[in-house]
């Protein structure tokens, strides 16, 4: 069943800036769906439309069966949102922040108080929840946002750049919390990211979005497979002749190149092809002295489909970093 279904959704700002340009996609119940794209690709605009914060210029979408346009309040009641910025009120405690949100969802206090303690335990904030949010570290604040996003037990949780501005260690920890949350609460996750590792590690399916258009939607594995497959590199001792021709005939091998003593094979799946190669070399009476397998990363996928590397964007793309720094600064004050 599709829990999110989007049809030709567009958003034009000020009559000229086409932030989202006729995107259509659907998200199945229970999956983690990721929007991957550079800054300004339209990720946040899409999330804002799906969470009813802004009105689409054209097109429509349903979230958990309700139209984002005509049944906005029903959509709001059934989704949770973890925004890009730290939005919790710094002058209140973590608990009070969550309680305020629960009140706004109309959850009775009897239910919400107990639920909040559970959620705080889930993100390991139970000890800190009676402290003012202003005293929290970046990782703690991110976890608090996650817990608050779950306070209404949403069917769909929207996360906009859930680990933006966190260091690598904290980021991995947040991923673990996200996986745990999804297991415990059986919901659908919709997230945006411009971290490839994040999309790769968390998402069941990824939509690559650029200039407001979806370029491709698939699972990370299939996206990676679509650009040609894995790389197997091997060295063979005392071979009498060039083995390239024999290797080329092995099922699953797409291409062979020899560079010095080393064979570099482009294969469909390294795990299945590598043993075949080893037995083949053995039957010829030689031995494999060195073997390595490389999986293609989303980097290459991204490069293939958008024509530029996301890493370059990250290091040169100042806009978002500036924004991020500002967010952090504001959150500290």
């Amino acid at each position: 069943m599709d829990i999110i279904s989007v049809k030709r959704l567009s958003k034009v700002f000020n009559g000229k800036l086409r932030a989202v340009d006729g995107v259509s996609f659907s998200v199945k119940e229970g999956e983690i769906f990721g929007f991957l794209g550079p800054n300004g690709a339209g990720k946040t605009t899409t999330i804002k439309m799906l969470t009813t914060l802004i009105t689409p210029t054209s097109g429509d979408a349903t979230v958990s069966g309700h139209s984002i346009d005509r049944e906005a309040n029903k959509v709001r009641a059934s989704v949770g949102v973890v925004p890009q910025e730290f939005t919790a009120d710094e002058d209140l405690t973590g608990f009070d922040n969550a309680l305020l949100m629960a009140d706004l969802y109309g959850i009775p206090r009897k239910v919400s108080k107990q639920r909040i303690v559970e959620l705080m335990r889930l993100v390991d904030l139970e000890a800190a929840m009676k402290r003012k949010v202003g005293t929290y570290s970046g990782g703690m604040r991110r976890r608090l946002e996650l817990a608050i996003g779950l306070v209404n037990h949403p069917k769909v949780l929207f996360m906009d750049e859930p680990t933006l501005g966190l260091d690598v260690q904290t980021r991995t920890a947040v991923w673990d919390y996200i996986r745990k949350m999804k297991n415990d609460y059986k919901m659908t996750l919709f997230m945006t990211t411009h971290y490839l590792e994040e999309a790769d590690s968390l998402c069941d399916r990824i939509a690559i979005i650029d200039h407001g258009k979806i370029i491709r939607i698939d699972s990370p594995e299939r996206l990676k497979a679509s650009i040609g497959g894995d790389i197997v590199q091997l060295e063979v001792s005392n071979e009498k002749a060039d083995l390239s021709g024999i290797f080329r005939k092995v099922p699953g091998v797409k291409g062979v190149r020899k560079k010095g003593k080393e064979y570099r094979l482009k294969v469909k799946s390294a795990e299945t092809v590598a043993p075949r190669l080893m037995t083949l070399v053995g039957t010829k009476g030689y031995t494999v002295t060195k073997l390595s397998m490389t999986k293609p990363t989303l980097d290459e996928v991204y490069l293939e489909y958008t024509g530029r590397s996301l890493r370059e964007e990250e290091s040169s793309g100042s806009g978002d970093l500036m924004l991020q720094r500002r967010t952090m600064r504001i959150s500290r004050n």
Binding site: A77, T87, L100, M101, D103, Y105, I107
Partner: protein, 297 residues
């Protein structure tokens, strides 16, 4: 079992206007009393006005026996005092200029505090908190009314403090009654509600707190000086009278002087209340209606 469970969930999904209103107002109030320094700082100005204008520049002193003293003429002091008091009563309605001004200062603190109520909406927007609120099914009106109520409650609490200080500094209590205080604060409530609504309304679309500050600073002193806070409108030039006579601040102060000092005015108090009521309700309704439109991008 399942249907009951669903029934409970169904009900839980409809947030109550008043409950969310209270939660939102309470959030802002918590921030307020967590920072008593701001409260004290904002009280300094009206207290200085009270001290300067009420005590140092006291009009009452101008019309005392020593001021009327003409060399060579031996006019009895009590005649001069009666004369001075008559002048004071005819112009100000009371012999105590300090008391006259104190009521004006109650309106002053309400005006200045409620003008700041738009600021917190600007900050909530900048920090993303407002967007977060808008992703919940909370009635949009309760967000706006919450901000307005917060402004009203703050300004009324400060008005109580200013009143207590004024009494300690010697405001006349001869006409003060419980009903009088209730009426005066009723008028202050309406003024605060209207002014808060106006400034929340201005802030609905704004991301920029400097503009808010600039507008508040542009309006606050003119609104104060073009009212009867320092000087009765009857003694003003006609062009200024025209403005002062439609200024809601004047209406509030007139009710206050009537209720707390027993000063008689030509217009009945009910008329003033109707004027202020319309002012407050109209701006309140406009801000709620516009909140449905303006809060969304």
């Amino acid at each position: 079992m399942k249907t009951t469970k669903r029934g409970v969930k169904e009900r839980a999904a409809t947030p109550n206007f008043f409950r969310s209103l209270w939660s939102l107002t309470n959030r802002d109030l918590k921030k307020w009393y967590a920072a008593p320094a701001i409260l004290i700082i904002s009280l300094i100005q009206p207290v200085i006005w009270l001290g300067l204008f009420g005590k140092a520049f006291n009009f009452g002193n101008l019309f005392s026996a020593s001021a009327f003293n003409i060399p060579g003429l031996n006019i009895p002091a009590n005649l001069l005092n009666t004369l001075g008091n008559t002048v004071m009563t005819n112009i100000f309605g009371t012999t105590s200029y300090f008391s006259f001004l104190a009521v004006g200062m109650l309106a002053f603190i309400v005006l200045f505090t409620s003008m700041m109520s738009g600021m917190s909406i600007v900050w909530d927007r900048r920090l993303g908190f407002l967007d977060k609120l808008l992703t919940t099914p909370v009635p949009r009106g309760s967000i706006v009314i919450g901000k307005i109520l917060n402004g009203v409650i703050r300004s009324l609490a400060q008005a109580v403090i200013v009143l207590v200080i004024a009494i300690l500094l010697g405001m006349t209590l001869t006409h003060v009654s419980a009903t009088g205080i209730a009426l005066a604060f009723g008028a202050l409530f309406l003024l605060g509600f209207g002014m808060s609504s106006l400034f929340v309304l201005l802030a609905l679309k704004s991301k920029d707190w400097q503009t808010q500050m600039a507008i508040a600073n542009l309006l606050n002193l003119p609104l104060l000086f073009m009212s009867n806070a320092f000087f009765p409108t009857s003694a003003m030039p006609s062009w200024l009278q025209a403005i002062a006579n439609v200024n809601p601040v004047s209406f509030t102060i007139e009710i206050g002087r009537q209720a707390l000092l027993g000063i008689q005015f030509s217009t009945p108090m009910l008329y003033n209340f109707i004027y202020l009521g319309v002012f407050a309700v109209a701006l309140g309704i406009i801000s709620i209606v516009l909140s449905w439109k303006l809060l969304k991008g």
